[in-house]
C-alpha cells in the first residue's frame, strides 16, 4: 500500500510539474463549454433579410414590422425591384428576401386571400430551412391576429409543446456531449501516453525489476487521472448550470456516479491502448483515431444516430460515449432516475470489465 501511494504521489508530481499539460487538462472543459455555448451554435439569430414591398399599404407595413421585431431577423434593406433581390443574394448580403405583392391589403380584405413570396439562399440548406420556417411562422401569426375577431368555418389549431427543453436551447444537447468528450480525452489519451512514456524513458525497466506488482503499477498510473476527471466533471456541471442555465433535473449523485463509471471505462481503454503501443505518438494516434473521432461522430452528439444507415447504427453501439451521452441526457435533462438508465449503465459496466481484464492480461511483466 505504501508503494502504491508513493507511486500515485509521483504521478501527481509529473502532472503538477508539467504546467502546460495541467493547464490544458483543467482548462479544456472550460474552453469547450464556452466555445459550444456562445460561439458554435446552430441556432439562427439576427439573419440579414431584405424586403421588396410592392404594396406599401397598412397590412404590408404591419407585417414587416412584425418580422423586424423578431429576434431571428434583421431587415437589412428595402428593395424596389426583383433585379436588386438577385443582386443582394449574389453579394451574399442577405439570407432571405420577402416579396410582398402590390395591393396586398386590398386582396386580403376583398378576396380574403393574399400571397407573399419568401426567397431563401439555400446554399446552406439547414439555415434556409430554419429561416423559411421561422418566416412562415411569423406570417401565420400575423394572419391569425388579423382573423382574430372573425369566425372561420374550419380551423385546426396546432399547439406545440417542447418537452424537457421548451426554449430549444442547443446547450441541452452539447453539455452531455462535451462531458463525454472531455472525460474520454483526459482519461484515455493521458493514461495511454503516461504509461507509454515510462516505457520510452526506460523507467519501466527499473519498475518492472522491482517487487511492486505490475497490476498495481497500472492502477496507480490511472488514479490521478480519475481524480482529475472528477474536477473536470464538477467544472462542466457548475459552468453549465450557472453560465448556460442548463438545469440538472435528475439526481446529481446519480449523474456523478455514472460519470465515474464512464471515467473508469475510459481509463481501462487507455490502459489497453498503452499495453499495445510502443511510442507516445502511437498511443496518441490510436486514442485520437480509434476513440475521439467515433465519439464525435457516432455518439449522437453531433449527428443524430437515428438518421444513420444500419451499419453505422450498429457500430455506434460499441462506442462507449454513445451510452454515456444518453445517460447524461436522461438524468440531467429529462430528470430520470436509475430505473430509466439501467440498461445503459449495464452496458458501460460490461465494457469497463471487459477492457480492464484485457488491459491487465495484456500488460507485459517483461519487456518483450
Amino acid at each position: 500500500m505504501r508503494q502504491f501511494l508513493a507511486f500515485v504521489k509521483k504521478e501527481f508530481f509529473h502532472i503538477g510539474r508539467d504546467k502546460r499539460t495541467m493547464f490544458i487538462l483543467l482548462g479544456m472543459p472550460v474552453v469547450q463549454i464556452v466555445i459550444f455555448g456562445f460561439a458554435l451554435t446552430n441556432e439562427v439569430k439576427n439573419a440579414h433579410i431584405a424586403i421588396l414591398d410592392n404594396a406599401k399599404d397598412p397590412a404590408a407595413n404591419s407585417l414587416i414590422q412584425q418580422i423586424d421585431a423578431s429576434r431571428y431577423f434583421d431587415v437589412e434593406k428595402n428593395l424596389v425591384n426583383y433585379v436588386q433581390v438577385e443582386e443582394e443574394f449574389r453579394k451574399g448580403n442577405i439570407k432571405l428576401a420577402l416579396v410582398i405583392p402590390a395591393h396586398f391589403n386590398e386582396d386580403l380584405i376583398h378576396f380574403n386571400k393574399a400571397q407573399v413570396q419568401i426567397i431563401a439562399d439555400a446554399s446552406d440548406p439547414n439555415v434556409a430551412n430554419t429561416l423559411t420556417s421561422y418566416a412562415s411562422a411569423i406570417i401565420m401569426d400575423f394572419q391569425s391576429r388579423m382573423t382574430k375577431n372573425k369566425s372561420l368555418p374550419y380551423t385546426i389549431q396546432t399547439e406545440l409543446r417542447m418537452l424537457y427543453n421548451p426554449q430549444l436551447k442547443g446547450a441541452y444537447n452539447f453539455v452531455p456531449g462535451v462531458m463525454a468528450m472531455v472525460l474520454l480525452l483526459v482519461c484515455t489519451m493521458m493514461t495511454a501516453i503516461t504509461i507509454v512514456k515510462e516505457k520510452e524513458m526506460g523507467t519501466m525497466e527499473i519498475i518492472l525489476v522491482s517487487p511492486m506488482r505490475p497490476q498495481l503499477v497500472v492502477i496507480a498510473k490511472a488514479v490521478p487521472y480519475l481524480l482529475l476527471s472528477l474536477v473536470n466533471i464538477a467544472t462542466i456541471l457548475i459552468l453549465s448550470v450557472t453560465a448556460l442555465e442548463v438545469p440538472i433535473n435528475g439526481s446529481v449523485l446519480l449523474l456523478i456516479g455514472e460519470s465515474i463509471l464512464f471515467t473508469l471505462v475510459s481509463l481501462s481503454l487507455g490502459l489497453l491502448i498503452s499495453a499495445g503501443a510502443a511510442s507516445q505518438q502511437t498511443a496518441m494516434f490510436i486514442s485520437l483515431v480509434a476513440l475521439f473521432l467515433p465519439t464525435i461522430m457516432l455518439s449522437g452528439f453531433m449527428f443524430p444516430i437515428e438518421n444513420m444507415p444500419l451499419p453505422l447504427r450498429t457500430m455506434s453501439n460499441i462506442v462507449p460515449a454513445k451510452w454515456y451521452y444518453s445517460i447524461v441526457r436522461a438524468v440531467m435533462i429529462k430528470g430520470l432516475g436509475i430505473s430509466g438508465v439501467w440498461k445503459e449503465t449495464l452496458v458501460l459496466t460490461g465494457m469497463m470489465l471487459f477492457f480492464l481484464t484485457m488491459a491487465i492480461r495484456r500488460f507485459k511483466i517483461r519487456l518483450a
Binding site: 509521483k10 508530481f13 509529473h14 517483461r366
Partner: protein, 304 residues
C-alpha cells in the same frame, strides 16, 4: 558459491529469429566478485543483462541468479537484485531526493534504512538534492542512478554500461565506488565497451557478436597473448601501416594511439622487423617492444 550461473543461453530477435543477439553463452560469477562483460556496441551485452534481470526470456538455455531460475522465480529475483540500465532511467522532472525516495519506497525500504550503503556515493550528490534529475551532469546522473539501484541493498548488482558517456574523472571515481560495494559483499556484474576498464574487474568475459571469446582474469587474458607485440611510429603513419601489412612475418598490424601495434607471427619475426626498419632509410621508423593489454587481446581473439 556462484551468484550467477548462465548455461547455453541463446537469444535472437526478428520474426524468424534471424538477428542473433546471443549465441550459446555460458559463464559463472562467484559471489562477492566484480565480473566484467567487455565488448563493443551491439555485442549483446544489454540483451544478456535483460535476460538475467528477468526482463527478457531467452530462446534457449537456462540462467540462475542467487540459485533461482530467471524464468520460474522472477518475482523472487526482482526483490533481490539491483539493476541500472544503460540508458539513464530516472524521472527527469523529479528532484534527486524525490527519485531516491520513490525507488526506496517501491523497493519496500527507506533511505534511512540503507543509508550506510549509499552514503559514500550519495554525499557527492547530496548538495544538489533539490535539483531536478534531468538537470544533473552525466557523472552525477550515474551516481544518482547507482544510488537508486542500491537503495534496497541488493545481493546482486547489474550495471549495464554505467560509464558510457561519462568523463574520465567520473569514470575513475565510479570504479572506486564499485570496489567499495564489492567490499560490502555485493556481487557485481558490469558491462562496458571500454577495454581499459577490464583490468579493474576480478574476472572478465570478452564478448563479440553474441559470442564469448574468452573468460579469464584480466592478467590471465593478457598472459594468453602468445605472439610478440611491437609498436612502430614514423612521420607518415598511413604509409607505414600499408607497408607493414604486406610483410609476410607480420600477423596483424593496427593503429593504436600514436603508434601502430604489430603482432608478429613468431619470435623470429623480431629480427626480420628490425632489419626491415633499418632498410627503410628514406623514412625514419621508430620501433619498441610493448606489453599487450586487453584491447590487443580482444583484437587478437576477434581475428582468430
Amino acid at each position: 558459491m556462484q551468484s550467477i550461473v548462465v548455461k547455453n543461453i541463446s537469444k535472437s530477435y526478428g520474426k524468424k529469429g534471424e538477428i542473433a543477439a546471443l549465441h550459446d553463452i555460458s559463464f559463472e560469477v562467484e559471489t562477492g566478485s566484480l565480473f566484467g562483460i567487455i565488448g563493443p556496441d551491439g555485442a549483446g551485452k544489454t540483451t544478456l543483462f535483460r535476460i538475467l534481470t528477468t526482463l527478457l526470456l531467452a530462446d534457449k538455455g537456462t540462467a540462475t541468479v542467487e540459485g533461482m531460475d530467471v524464468v520460474l522465480s522472477f518475482k523472487e529475483i526482482r526483490k533481490r537484485i539491483g539493476y541500472m540500465p544503460g540508458k539513464f532511467s530516472l524521472y527527469p522532472d523529479l528532484s534527486v531526493e524525490e527519485n531516491l525516495n520513490f525507488f526506496a519506497t517501491i523497493f519496500n525500504t527507506s533511505i534511512e534504512e540503507n543509508y550506510d550503503l549509499i552514503k559514500d556515493i550519495y554525499v557527492q550528490i547530496e548538495p544538489f538534492k533539490k535539483r531536478k534529475a534531468g538537470k544533473l551532469s552525466g557523472g552525477m546522473k550515474q551516481k544518482l542512478a547507482l544510488s537508486c539501484a542500491l537503495i534496497h541493498r541488493p545481493e546482486v548488482l547489474f550495471l549495464d554500461e554505467p560509464t558510457t558517456g561519462v568523463d574520465a574523472v567520473s569514470r575513475k571515481e565510479f570504479w572506486e565506488m564499485l570496489k567499495g560495494l564489492k567490499a560490502q559483499g555485493i556481487t557485481i556484474l558490469v558491462s562496458t565497451p571500454y577495454m581499459d576498464e577490464a583490468s579493474l574487474c576480478d574476472k572478465v568475459a570478452l564478448i563479440q557478436k553474441g559470442q564469448i571469446l574468452t573468460i579469464n582474469t584480466p592478467q590471465g587474458i593478457v598472459d594468453e597473448f602468445e605472439y610478440p607485440l611491437w609498436a612502430a611510429k614514423s612521420a607518415n603513419m598511413l604509409q607505414l601501416l600499408n607497408n607493414l601489412k604486406n610483410l609476410p612475418y607480420i600477423k596483424d598490424v593496427y593503429p593504436f594511439g600514436e603508434y601502430h601495434h604489430i603482432v608478429l607471427q613468431s619470435a623470429e619475426g623480431v629480427e626480420l622487423l628490425k632489419k626491415y626498419v633499418a632498410s627503410q632509410t628514406a623514412e625514419k621508423i621508430e620501433i619498441l617492444k610493448v606489453v599487450p593489454n586487453i584491447e590487443d587481446c580482444f583484437i587478437g581473439f576477434m581475428n582468430k
